[in-house]
């Protein structure tokens, strides 16, 4: 049940203020990108985007549209700050992470502006918790310059088919090799670990394949340690789109349906591994 926080004493309005009946709609999505301690939050009129980066090679974004919130008001064109994602998640799940049916944590989020902490008001079963999280100067984010016009290969798969594969990836392999081709093997995930190599092939006519648009045979390798966190997003999602551009940059977009049936997106961008060697077969 949403409740309103007291307005700031000076009469100014909050730069960002939002209410959410079920904090899980936000926390589950944020967990899907939680592979680094810090995240950059960007709020615009369309909603909230939380970005996490690592090694200057990988970037994950969680998008929560304004429509998901019961109330979403922003006074400036955009509001951006850096915050500890670990702390934010701990606060959002302060009443526990197990989801009992019927109970949910209500959230109200307020941000006065640059230099001010992010205020969270969480309520469950009549108990209210107030959290104040320090915000930091936002850092420059990577721009992968990935746009749909430059996409060479694109596949949309039902997540069900990939979930087990990603969960069981041979982590003794340094890389995950992705092959996309208009010819066999169409879509192949390969690892080269201590035991030997392993290949996972998805044919283009598989029931799992929702869309198959491959124009060119491409084989790219990505550091497996960077991609492994995307398994969390995969686990939540119902569909995933896999795209590569001419330089081998990878875009993974996950369509996630929350408990209320609303759609949110999480995307991962990854650079190809520079130490390319001949692939083992």
């Amino acid at each position: 049940m949403p409740f309103s926080a007291p307005p700031p004493a000076s009469g100014e309005r909050y730069a960002l203020s939002a209410s959410l009946d079920n904090a899980r709609h936000l926390s589950s999505l944020l967990r899907a990108v939680h592979f680094q301690d810090h995240a950059t939050c960007l709020a615009t009129a369309s909603g909230l985007r939380v970005t996490v980066e690592d090694a200057k090679c990988i970037q994950a974004n969680a998008f929560i549209q304004a429509e998901i919130f019961q109330e979403f008001s922003i006074q400036e064109e955009s509001v951006m700050f850096r915050i500890s994602l670990s702390v934010l998640l701990d606060c959002l799940t302060i009443f526990g992470t197990s989801s009992l049916p019927g109970t949910s944590t209500a959230l109200r989020m307020c941000y006065r502006g640059y230099g001010y902490p992010l205020m969270l008001f969480l309520e469950e079963g009549g108990v209210v918790t107030v959290c104040k999280i320090h915000t930091q100067e936002p850092e420059e984010l990577l721009d992968f310059d990935f746009c749909s016009t430059k996409v060479v290969n694109k596949i949309i798969l039902q997540s069900e088919g990939l979930r087990e594969a990603f969960a069981e990836l041979d982590m003794t392999s340094e890389v995950l090799q992705i092959t996309m081709s208009p010819d066999k093997p169409y879509f192949r995930l390969s690892t080269f670990g201590n035991a030997g190599s392993a290949h996972l092939d998805y044919p283009r006519d598989s029931d799992l394949m929702e869309a198959f648009h491959c124009n060119q045979t491409q084989t790219n390798r990505y550091k497996i340690s960077l991609l492994k966190p995307s398994t969390k997003a995969l686990a939540l999602s119902c569909k995933v789109s896999i795209r590569t551009d001419a330089q081998g940059f990878l875009s993974l977009q996950y369509m996630i349906r929350n408990e209320d049936g609303q759609i949110c997106f999480v995307e991962y961008y990854c650079c190809p591994d520079e130490n390319i060697t001949e692939a083992e077969l």
Binding site: G196, H199, S206
Partner: protein, 366 residues
């Protein structure tokens, strides 16, 4: 098999695919033979009638990694193709899954010699057969950390199971658990009265869970202490053997030193020659078996030149008993006798190419 050893030996034969394992101290050996009928397609290969079928060994962990999650495998995998590619040095395991998805694993393998323990169920004085469930329920009473258990026969045809306690253990600090099973719990009982054997429980538990899961009766062949105990499971398409060394009773061992491999029964020398013929030849000669100090359970298994005198073998064994736990990974008790992995050289018959230790010679020294 993974409860026994770290390496999986794959040996295709005309009568099926044999998967085997042996433990580091050579006191446990297991083999699973899957008949050709078990498979949809079975082609053991071989270029011609005279060439030996290729065999190899792979790391147990690598192989098990392919079949990681059994429940989901059952739901999603339609068929599994196993190909041995000697030229590419790869064992290929290909799983054909739901939705047309194919998972291909290319595992590195090592060539190896034939791994075969020497045993003969016919020579065992006692034999028990019981549904796996009965034994599983009996074994559950023992702590999971228990190393050895003693199986014995008692009055009224009852069978006992008791945890083995080392002589050095303090009586006040040890707990002894003993349970008795009535003859009617078994499907068949043919035992020499008053017999008992002590073997390693841990290695047996692995087979027991398999037997329970596949709902097969378990047959136990045993003889005197010191001679191996053989557990078998039989099915139309599967034959399983688990051979475990047993603790020998040194006090009652008044026989000649080279008791390994030779029947304790006072057999005339004619039987002795027959025994030799029934022994299998190959010795495991790959790198893995020569690491560390010699196992007290098994003096063989090294690339060193064979020592051919039984008397010397006895001396070795005496020396070994003085070593205190020198060998890592051996069964805890020093008195375990070994399994039979050697080839036996009959006087006059050309022996195999590799140097072998003679386990038994003509018993004219007795």
């Amino acid at each position: 098999l993974s409860r026994i050893g770290d390496e999986l030996y794959l040996e295709p034969t005309e009568s099926g695919l044999s998967l085997r394992a042996v433990n580091s101290s050579r006191s446990a050996f297991a083999s699973f033979l899957f008949a050709p009928l078990f498979f949809q397609l079975y082609e053991p290969g071989g270029a011609g009638p005279d060439t030996e079928l290729f065999r190899c060994k792979v790391h147990m962990k690598s192989f098990l990694g392919v079949f990681r999650s059994l429940p989901s495998l059952e739901k999603s995998v339609g068929k599994c193709l196993i190909l041995l590619k000697p030229r590419a040095s790869r064992l290929v395991l290909q799983l054909h899954c739901k939705y047309g998805v194919t998972k291909t694993h290319n595992l590195a393998f090592q060539e190896c010699e034939r791994l075969q323990a020497v045993f003969d169920t016919q020579r065992c004085a006692s034999c028990l057969c019981a549904p796996a469930r009965v034994l599983a329920e009996a074994v559950v009473h023992f702590p999971p950390t228990l190393a050895e258990v003693t199986l014995g026969t008692g009055p009224g045809g009852k069978i006992s199971l008791r945890n083995y306690v080392e002589d050095e253990a303090e009586p006040s600090k040890t707990m002894v658990t003993e349970l008795w099973l009535a003859e009617d719990e078994f499907q068949s009982v043919a035992v020499a009265p008053g017999s008992h054997i002590t073997f390693c429980l841990k290695e047996f538990r692995g087979l027991l869970s398999f037997a329970e899961a596949s709902n097969l009766p378990l047959t136990i062949h045993f003889d005197e202490p010191g001679r191996p105990v053989i557990f078998t499971l039989d099915d139309t398409v599967l034959e399983v053997h688990l051979v475990l060394a047993t603790l020998s009773d040194l006090e009652s061992n008044s026989q000649s030193p080279s008791t390994n491999g030779v029947s304790h029964l006072p057999a005339p020398s004619d039987d002795f020659a027959d025994d030799l013929e029934s022994y299998m030849a190959a010795m495991e000669t790959s790198e893995g078996c020569s690491e560390g100090p010699r196992s007290p359970t098994f003096p063989l298994c090294t690339p060193r030149p064979a020592k051919s005198k039984p008397q010397q073998q006895e001396e070795e064994e005496e020396e070994e008993e003085e070593e205190e736990g020198a060998v890592p990974g051996t069964p805890p008790h020093k008195k375990f006798r070994s399994l039979f992995f050697g080839s036996v050289m009959t006087p006059g018959r050309p022996g195999p190419a590799t140097a072998q230790e003679v386990l038994a010679e003509d018993s004219d020294g007795e």
